[in-house]
Amino acid sequence: MVDRSKTLEDPAISLLEEMLKIYTPSGREEPLSRFLAERMNHLGFDDVQVDRVNNVIGTVGSGYPSILLCGHMDTVPGVQPVKIVNDLIFGRGAVDAKSSLAAMIIAASELIDKEDYGKVIVAGVVDEEGMGTGIKELIKGSIRADYAIFGEPSSIENITIGYKGRISLTIICKTASVHASAPWMSQNAIEKAFEVWGAISSYTSQGKDDKNRFNSLTACITKIRGGTAHNVLPGTCRITTDIRIPPQTSCSKVHQDIMEIIDKYQSDVSFPKIEVKVDEMTEPFETDKNSPLVRALSVAILNVTRRRPILVRKTGTGDMNAFGHALKVPVVTYGPGNPHLSHTHKEYIEISDYLSCVKIYYEALLNIRKFHGPDRQSST
């Protein structure tokens, strides 16, 4: 059990508690951004700034290698009371992902009195649960790094080395709407849109491997809208799809294949017009398991927890995809907490795991400097 009086004195725990008390659904991160800028200045970070989209960025150290620690400040909507009960801290974002960001800030601040660890950039970004405005702005800006760790819950011994890519497509079918008592006079937009979806679904099911879902293409419908009344033949149907792409292929290849399927339907002049909109496209990304970054974090986990690290590939898609692709550097995602509590109404973090994570980030930063080697020049 954690001593409550000691808990309040621990700067890592008080920082997390204060962060959780600031409610930050996507688009409303500014108060937390200002709070963290003030706190990072107080801790001794250099060049602390809040950019035009409200990302907060600060650095410690200089030289090479340059390491980015990036966590997001926003959460999914839904207030949860912040409370500490024994070894647990409850609150919206306790798992996804304020614990990771708080641990990164504290770990980096503990390097300030050290020498020769390179440059550590800590970024708290906005809108990860939305459209990724924060990470896109960070990539567009001047930040460059040799390595990056993204803070998301992975469990204390798990390092996420890969994420699938994602395409979100909306398929729109339009026909002439007629009286439902005379369906032969037109074509049913819902049924025709489903015919196209069936062909796409067959394509994405090819090579399906239930024992290795990370390396399989998967697709599902996430939204559907069609029809206006119980007695009117539907004249419009919109199907939104979510397609997850393994690293062996690419979004552009899958998109091209799907467009070829649609073109076949469109070559039939009697088939209704199908429009396809690309809502989002994020390429898959996987880091080399032999990179100094993976080793640095694995060794830190071993030293701090005495547990065997596990490398994990996830069927979701993370901010590290965009960053890794843009900068072509090793990137992993790592942070405390049970990832399956994300987006639920019972988010909590174990204080012991959170404090271990501070130590793991800290040791990993020192290890990266060691494993990077003195002769390798930084890209910055």
Binding site: Y163, F214, N303, L311, V312, K314, G316
Partner: protein, 55 residues
Amino acid sequence: MKCPECDGDIPIPKDALEGEIVTCPDCGASFELHKKEDGSFGLRTIQVVGEDWGE
């Protein structure tokens, strides 16, 4: 050290720790380093790479 899967060469860092994950640069198979009775390292074939859903 020879890879049990493809016989490729797996480099073992001089400062390697027991429990570390090493990966064959040729075939990509990963192994856990374990200490043998004589103090030297061996490769253990266990699941060091997993799969999960979510972000």
